[in-house]
């Protein structure tokens, strides 16, 4: 169990973290999710020991490690821009931690071979980082971080610098790797889709504070506040409530709980159709329909439709009182 308690950290006038508390369960894959500059990378670096917090403490298995230097924390860290040792071959990069730990030669050799196999770089051991693609470099960085069998794996925007296709591949691959190894993993991302897809737990961080923590479904279905709701998926406003566009019920018949709207535009997006409408009070609203639903409604620009939020009782569109902040578990 990794705990960060009341962590604050400033850089000059900039407050990166304010009284942040997070607990990370062992063996889980946790995402620190939030917009750029929100403080999530700083939190990761505090956990790694690369930054010393101004106040607060980091505890691992109950022990205070706040002032233990990074090199003694037995962590694997993957940097956003790989931090490849440019003057070393792929092999020497991966073997670096083992050399520092004075691992016996054949043991080290066996381990590097296994790791390069694992990250599919076995044919490229003699290459230099400059001769690798971005995705290959990131996999090398991962193998390097795993070489010393760290207790925790920390990844700072691991796929941020890669193009969309490679990103998608590496995501699935990281999830499978984690399922094989069960190593406690924390990764930083600003991409909610990435967090939703592979994380067991998500900690949403904004303006240096934790907005909400919990499993992806819980955060999506029961966001603690509008920021979390908006950050985790598309939203639109209906009757003063923030709702998901696909949760809105559309009908052509009048209904007591429904708001009247005029259709401005229908945009076909393949499987889904986006309905853009204007409410009676002039507010725009967006609804997501399946193509079949759209066909069934048989509406066009200028038609009148009736829009109903998912919970007619007005249960605030899924907004529930904030789950205990600072806990990754509900």
């Amino acid at each position: 169990m990794i705990e960060a308690r009341n962590i604050s950290k400033s850089f000059g006038d900039f407050r990166a973290l304010t009284e942040v508390s997070v607990s990370i369960e062992p063996g889980r894959l946790t995402a620190l999710l939030g917009p750029s500059g929100g403080g999530k990378s700083t939190l990761l670096r505090v956990i790694a020991g690369l930054e010393v917090p101004d106040s607060g403490e980091v505890r691992v298995e109950g022990r205070d490690v706040t002032r233990v230097p990074a090199r003694k924390r037995r962590i694997g860290f993957v940097f956003q821009h790989y931090a490849a040792f440019t003057h070393m071959t792929v092999w020497d990069n991966v073997a670096f931690g083992l050399k520092i730990a004075r691992t016996p030669r054949d043991q080290a050799r066996q381990r590097v071979t296994e790791l390069l196999d694992l990250v599919h770089l076995d044919g490229l051991a003699r290459r230099y980082p400059a001769e690798l693609s971005g995705g290959q470099r990131q996999r090398m960085a991962l193998a390097r971080a795993l070489a010393t069998a760290p207790g925790v794996l920390l990844l700072d925007e691991p796929f941020g610098a890669l193009d969309a296709k490679v990103r998608q591949e590496l995501r699935g691959w990281l999830r499978r790797l984690h399922d094989d190894m069960h190593i406690t993993t924390i990764f930083v991302t600003h991409d909610q889709e990435e967090a939703m897809e592979i994380a067991d737990e998500i900690v949403v961080i904004n303006h240096g504070q934790v907005e909400q923590a919990g499993p992806p479904d819980q955060l999506y279905d029961h966001p603690a506040n509008e920021f979390v709701m908006g950050f985790l998926g598309p939203v639109t406003r209906l009757g003063g409530e923030l709702v998901r566009p696909h949760d809105i019920d559309v009908s052509t018949g009048r209904h007591p709980a429904a708001s009247e709207a005029i259709v401005e535009r229908l945009v076909s997006l393949g499987f889904t159709t986006r309905l853009e409408a204007t409410l009676a009070d002039g507010q725009p609203v967006t609804v997501q329909l399946t193509r079949a639903q759209a066909a069934e409604l048989d509406i066009g620009t200028g038609d009148i439709v009736f829009l109903r939020p998912p919970h007619p009782a007005g249960a605030a569109a899924g907004l529930v009182p904030a789950s205990r902040p600072g806990s990754a578990r509900p």
Binding site: T103, V152, D180
Partner: protein
């Protein structure tokens, strides 16, 4: 960590992360900057401070207004200005030929440009005297003349402008030049309107460095100039002479003046080059 567990996959993490609690070992990190700054001050700042203090505590103005000193300073500045101006022209021409022209042996010529930096200055003076000194095989004796000093200064400052302009010239957008040509501009107009604005900042900073170097140059001029007071006595040679005759205070006064002049000129030239570069984008 020496007994690393190597399972078939080799990657299973130990149940408890082996964090070790230690005292602060970060003391060393704070020591680095302190040591470097101390080193800096011992090596550089302290001698310069001592020089300035000596100059200030002596009769600074009396030392400077000695007629011989005034003449030497005036000659030095004039020679340095002439050097910088000639270097600016020849340096741009050399850089142009080395970047845009092609001829056999170009790479050798390019490498030779740096020779004045590698050659000891006293050897530079000696070398020039063998060709342009007494008994010159080309019947040209410029020893003990102001032209001789200029030649020596041009020799030792040759690389400054060339090496400053070359990379900029390489980066000049050839398409802009072609566009100018396609709009009817002749080669000279294209150079003046397209290339020159681009290389002007680099030329200026190169010439500024050449000026500073010429201002303080000693080794290459000491043999050639003959060191005739009021005629070919350069400031650096004057300072050396004053030290030799025990007039440390006078030498310090001339030195500080020379240094201040170099710093002011470098600051002005660097500022101008930066402003020009910004305007050019």
């Amino acid at each position: 960590m020496a007994d690393l567990p190597v399972s078939p996959l080799g990657l299973r993490a130990p149940a408890a992360p082996g964090y070790i609690r230690t005292g602060a070992s970060r003391a060393a990190a704070g020591l680095g900057p302190g040591v470097a700054l101390l080193y800096l001050s011992l090596m550089v700042a302290l001698p310069v401070a001592a020089l300035t203090s000596t100059a200030a505590s002596s009769q600074f103005l009396t030392a400077l207004t000695a007629p011989q000193t005034g003449a030497a300073l005036a000659l030095t500045v004039a020679e340095a200005v002439a050097t910088a101006v000639i270097d600016a022209v020849t340096g741009v021409a050399l850089a142009w030929v080395l970047v845009r022209d092609d001829f056999p042996g170009k790479r050798l010529v390019n490498a030779l440009i740096d020779l004045p930096f590698a050659l000891p200055t006293i050897v530079a003076g000696l070398v020039l005297l063998t060709l342009y000194g007494p008994g010159s095989p080309v019947q040209l004796n410029i020893a003990q003349t102001r032209a001789g000093i200029l030649l020596a200064l041009l020799f030792v400052t040759l690389p400054f402008v060339v090496r400053a302009v070359q990379p900029v010239l390489l980066a000049v957008d050839r398409e802009a030049e072609e566009a100018a040509a396609s709009l009817g501009a002749g080669p000279l107009t294209t150079f003046r309107r397209i290339v020159l604005p681009a290389i002007l900042p680099a030329t200026l900073s190169g010439a500024g460095l050449a000026f500073a170097r010429a201002l303080g140059e000693f080794g290459s001029v000491v043999l050639i100039s003959g060191n005739l007071p009021f005629k070919t006595m350069m400031a650096s040679v004057l300072i050396a002479g004053q030290v030799e005759s025990g007039d440390t205070a006078g030498a310090a006064a001339v030195s500080v003046t020379l240094l201040a002049f170099a710093l002011v000129v470098i600051a002005i030239v660097t500022g101008a080059a930066r402003r020009l570069a910004r305007r050019h984008g």
